[in-house]
Every structure is written in structure tokens, then in C-alpha cells.
């Protein structure tokens, strides 16, 4: 090995041996450091994965949803509007959707009841989401009573429990035939909850929306991009809320790390003097301190990031789920698709590793540039 490379290796070896000498102190530092990286990385991964999940789900969502407003409130849409909207140039498809919320007093949660025309759905049968099955403790083939608008219960047989992969959106879902939805909610014929619109060219959506409002001034078109923006804002807001809550912990770590990193003990100062008297240059001492700082911060960073990855993608961020997923009774239980954002990882790296490494170098530089005769006098 070339002498210059060997020098780096020797000093790295000595840095590792130095870290082991102060095991207790360094392990405490790495633990707290790892915890902070873990918490921040978990938030970043979780919010990122939820956003990606939302993007993927909304990819299949209609380009636009049209609601009707009466006195500023959402009201059923007359089916007569379907044909009028379909005739607007650029509209590919208009689907009248029938859905609503069902409050179950037994377990105190809201279910989303949606009408489906799927031919596979048997008469008087329903399909339910995993969250519903979990909460009601039911399985395929069981019968469940749903209480209608008039207080009368209707029995439905569970034909299918929806797959886990779709749980983020289907956790609280109950799919049933349109006639059953109308009967359950006493929903009048000729009306739908809203209209789902697909357009050939997404760039034409604002124009189509304007035409719909022109035709039906009491309608409210909602574009997919607006829904996406709202989701992002909600996830960012929740993530930000957690950061604020954890802010004090992060601040404590910064003070702790700053204190540990910037203060050289008398023993460390003496050691630097000894090393210099033995023929180490200031640059050798700085390299030693650089390696020490880098090993601590990179170890903490990698451990924190790996733990956060496992926490978010294998354990569904169980530590934060109540704060981040929402306040529903029916928490979706699902595994997020791993989504790593290189930019955010890089920002996290620069925010955690660089400041610590730099903080360790400043006092070492000050100690390393003084004459080594102090060692002779100690």
C-alpha cells in the first residue's frame, strides 16, 4: 500500500481504537444521535411514502368530481346532468356515483358505503374492507345487520373481504348494489352523490370545469390535482406537527452533541500534545478527529435511517401512526411501499452528519495548532 494511503489507514485504525477507549461516552452519544436521526428519518419516510401512496391511488381516481351545492352544502346531483356534461367537448366519460357514510353505533365508527355495478357482487351481499372486518370481527360468509334510515335493520351477507393491499383506501369501505344503497339511506331515485368525470386531455380540465359551472351554476367541480394538493398539505401539516412536538427533543440533542463535540477534555488536549510531540502534524491530528467525528455521525446516521426504514415500511410507523394517519376509529393496517427520496436523504445527511463533524474539528484544530511542549510540562 502506498505510504500516503497507509497513513490514512493507520490514523483511521487509531481513531477506531480511540473511540473504543471511551466506549461509555461514545455509545451514549451514538444512541441519542441515532434516536434523533431515527425520529426525523421516520417522519420523512412516512410522509414521503404516504404522498407516494396518495399519488398512486389518485392515478386511478377520476380526473374531476362534480358536486352540487345547495346553500353552501353538498347536495345530491340530478342524473339529468350526466348527459349534458358528457356532451361537453373533451369529456370522455361521466359516471354518477352513489355513496354515503354509515355510522355504526356498536363500535362508534363511520363506514363509507359505496354503490358498485360489479356483476360479481351477489344479490343482498356486500364486500367490506379489512378495517370493517377487524372492527366487527366478521369474515367472509358471515351476516351483518345494517340499520337503515327508518331504524329497521337489514341483513347482508359478506361475500368478500377486500385485499390488504388496498387497505389505505378500502379499510372502512362497504361495497353494495345501488338499489341497496338507495334503500339503506332512503336515497331518492334520479339523484347521485356526485359525478366522476374522465377527460381525454388533462390540460383541458380547467376549461371543462368552467363550462360545467356555466351550464350548472350550482355545481362545484373538484380537479384531481386539487385533491392531490390537499392530501400533500395534510400530510405535510401532520409531519410538521410532529416535528414541532419533537422539536424540544431535537434541540436537547443539539445542545448535548454541541457540548460533547466542542469541548475537549483535559485528557484529550494532553493526548493531542503527546501525539504532536511524537511527530504527528496538525493535519494528522485533525484527520484523527475527523475520522472520530465521521465514524460517530455516520454510524448514527446509518443506524437511524435503517431503523426508521424498518419502522416505517415493516412496522407501518407504529410509533407515530395515531398522529400521522388520522384520528379515525378504523385505522388502516397496511404496509407502505418503500419510497426513498434521494434529495431528502441527502438533506438529512447534511443536517445531521456535517454539523457534528464540523463541530468536532474546531476545538481539535485549536488544540492541534499550539506548540506540543505543553505535553512535556504536564
Amino acid at each position: 500500500m502506498r505510504p500516503s494511503l497507509q497513513r490514512y489507514r493507520n490514523i483511521l485504525d487509531f481513531a477506531l481504537s480511540s473511540l473504543l477507549r471511551r466506549k461509555g461516552r461514545n455509545l451514549a452519544l451514538i444512541s441519542v444521535y441515532t434516536l434523533v436521526v431515527f425520529v426525523i428519518a421516520s417522519l420523512v419516510f412516512f410522509v414521503q411514502a404516504l404522498k407516494r401512496e396518495a399519488h398512486e391511488l389518485l392515478a386511478q381516481a377520476p380526473d374531476m368530481v362534480v358536486q352540487r351545492m345547495v346553500a353552501g352544502r353538498h347536495d345530491p346531483v340530478p342524473l339529468a346532468q350526466v348527459e349534458a356534461i358528457r356532451s361537453i367537448r373533451g369529456v370522455d366519460e361521466v359516471q354518477a356515483r352513489l355513496w354515503g357514510y354509515y355510522y355504526d353505533p356498536v363500535f362508534g365508527g363511520n363506514l363509507t358505503v359505496l354503490a358498485t355495478e360489479d356483476a360479481a357482487l351477489a344479490p343482498d351481499a356486500i364486500w367490506i374492507g379489512q378495517g370493517v372486518a377487524r372492527s366487527m370481527r366478521v369474515k367472509e360468509g358471515d351476516l351483518i345487520p345494517l340499520r337503515g334510515y327508518d331504524g329497521q335493520s337489514t341483513l347482508f351477507s359478506i361475500q368478500k373481504v377486500l385485499p390488504e393491499s388496498s387497505e389505505l383506501v378500502s379499510s372502512d369501505l362497504v361495497l353494495m348494489a345501488p338499489k341497496d344503497v338507495r334503500a339503506l339511506f332512503h336515497f331518492p331515485e334520479g339523484l347521485a352523490t356526485d359525478l366522476a368525470i374522465q377527460a381525454g386531455n388533462p390540460r383541458e380540465l380547467p376549461t371543462i370545469a368552467a363550462k360545467i359551472v356555466e351550464l350548472f351554476p350550482d355545481s362545484r367541480p373538484i380537479l384531481k390535482s386539487e385533491i392531490l394538493r390537499t392530501y400533500e398539505a395534510v400530510f405535510d401539516w401532520r409531519g410538521g406537527l410532529m416535528v414541532v412536538v419533537l422539536g424540544s427533543a431535537v434541540l436537547s440533542f443539539i445542545i448535548f452533541a454541541w457540548d460533547k463535540a466542542t469541548g475537549l477534555s483535559a485528557e484529550e488536549r494532553k493526548e493531542i500534545g503527546v501525539l504532536k510531540s511524537l511527530g504527528w502534524e496538525s493535519s494528522d491530528v485533525l484527520l484523527l478527529k475527523f475520522w472520530e467525528g465521521t465514524v460517530i455521525s455516520v454510524t448514527a446516521f446509518l443506524t437511524g435511517v435503517l431503523l426508521a426504514y424498518a419502522h416505517v415500511f415493516f412496522f407501518s410507523a407504529s410509533l407515530f401512526e395515531h398522529a400521522l394517519k388520522g384520528w379515525s376509529v378504523l385505522f388502516p393496517r397496511f404496509r407502505l411501499i418503500p419510497a426513498l427520496d434521494g434529495y431528502q436523504l441527502t438533506v438529512l445527511f447534511f443536517l445531521t452528519v456535517l454539523p457534528y463533524t464540523a463541530a468536532t474539528l474546531v476545538p481539535s484544530w485549536r488544540a492541534a495548532t499550539v506548540d506540543p511542549d505543553a505535553a512535556m510540562r504536564s
Binding site: R7, L278, G279, P372
Partner: protein
Amino acid sequence: MIELSQVVKTYQAGLATPFTAVDRVTLSIPAARLTVFKGPSGSGKTTLLTLIGCMARPTSGRIHLHGLAGDALPHLAPAEALEITSLPERFLTAIRRRTFGFIFQQFNLVRGISVLENVLLPTYPTGEDPRAVEARAVARLESLGLARHLRSSVDRLSGGEAQRVAIARALINDPAVIIADEPTAHLDSRLSEEFMDLMSQFKDAGKTLLITSHDPIVYDSDLADMVVEMRDGRVVSET
């Protein structure tokens, strides 16, 4: 030969309380000989050795090394005189590493690491082949009777053993000059005699030995070729 000319070292120069530790010392120290610096505490012995050993710069005066810098500075012929007080820090470090071996009063071993690692410390920045330097260190420690302590932590050594580790460390880069500061201060008479026996071997091997001491075992020894007595930073006698 080491030649000092009107060397002055003043601490806190320019401040309200300057202190002159070495005051206009002019001296010629022969090579391959043992020179003892004696005098009471605060007489400037240790400061003078730190100036000779390139650990600090004098406030004024000149120090020349004649034929002792060896291969510390590649562009220099071994026999050439080298004025060290005006050299940049990098060169001073190279000379400190190659030309001088230091044995400190408190030994200054790095705690928490093994005997072998302590001895290898001066070789780390050189980038030498680690197997070669380790073999050299092991041989040196064996010759000093420390073979069974190679992997032991230095924290477990007795005073005499710790000093021998410090000696092995001082010799690992095969320096021309060995500087020992009060080496027998923490040793009993038997260990002090053993130390002087070792110095005798090094002298026979052609090393230049500079020792500060106020221990008669050292300055009254037959090994001492020159005894320099200092007081208040000045040389009061040379014998």
C-alpha cells in the same frame, strides 16, 4: 553537534507579566555523547530541551543541528548544518519525528490502548509498512523485557515498565538524539540504575543523549560526558 547561540525563550512576551524561562544560552552539545542538564526546578532545563527538540520556537537566538537531522528533510545532506528555529512547522514536525525520541517525566503514554499500540504511535503518520514497524516494535519491546506485556493495556503497568514502554516508543523511529526529561524522578534507585544501563547501551550505539535531572545517580554517573548546570534560565557551569 547541537549548537545553541544566544537562545532566549520568553513566555507571554508583550503582555504585562512576561517570563523568561531561557535566557541567552550559548552552548555546544557534542553528538554521540551523554549530556546532563541539572539545576533546581524552574531553572529552564526542560524548556531548553523543548527548544532543541523542535517542540517550541525560541523567542530569539539560533539553534543548529550539525549532521543530526539525517533523512528528516530529504533535500538535506546528512552532514549539513541545519538551522531549525526558522523552519516552517511541517519541517519541524519531520525533524521531531525522525531525529528526536522523547522520554517524558510522566511517560505520557496514551491510556486505554495496548503497549504495542503506544510504541507504534510515532509511526502512524509515516505510512510505513505496518508489518515492518510492528516487527521493529516487538523486537524493541522484547529487548526491554516487555515481551509478555505486548497486548496489555498500559494502565496496568508498573512505573518501571511504563518507562521502558516510553523508551521503546522514543526509539521506534530510530532517532539520532534521545531527550529524557527527569527520567528517574518516579523510579527507585534500582530502577534508576537500570535506566542508566540502558542509556549506556544507547550511547554505545552512537545515540546523542540529552537528559535533565537533579538525581545524583544521573549527573554523577561516569556515563555523563558533559554536565550543564542551569539556574534562572542561564547556564552557570559546564563540566
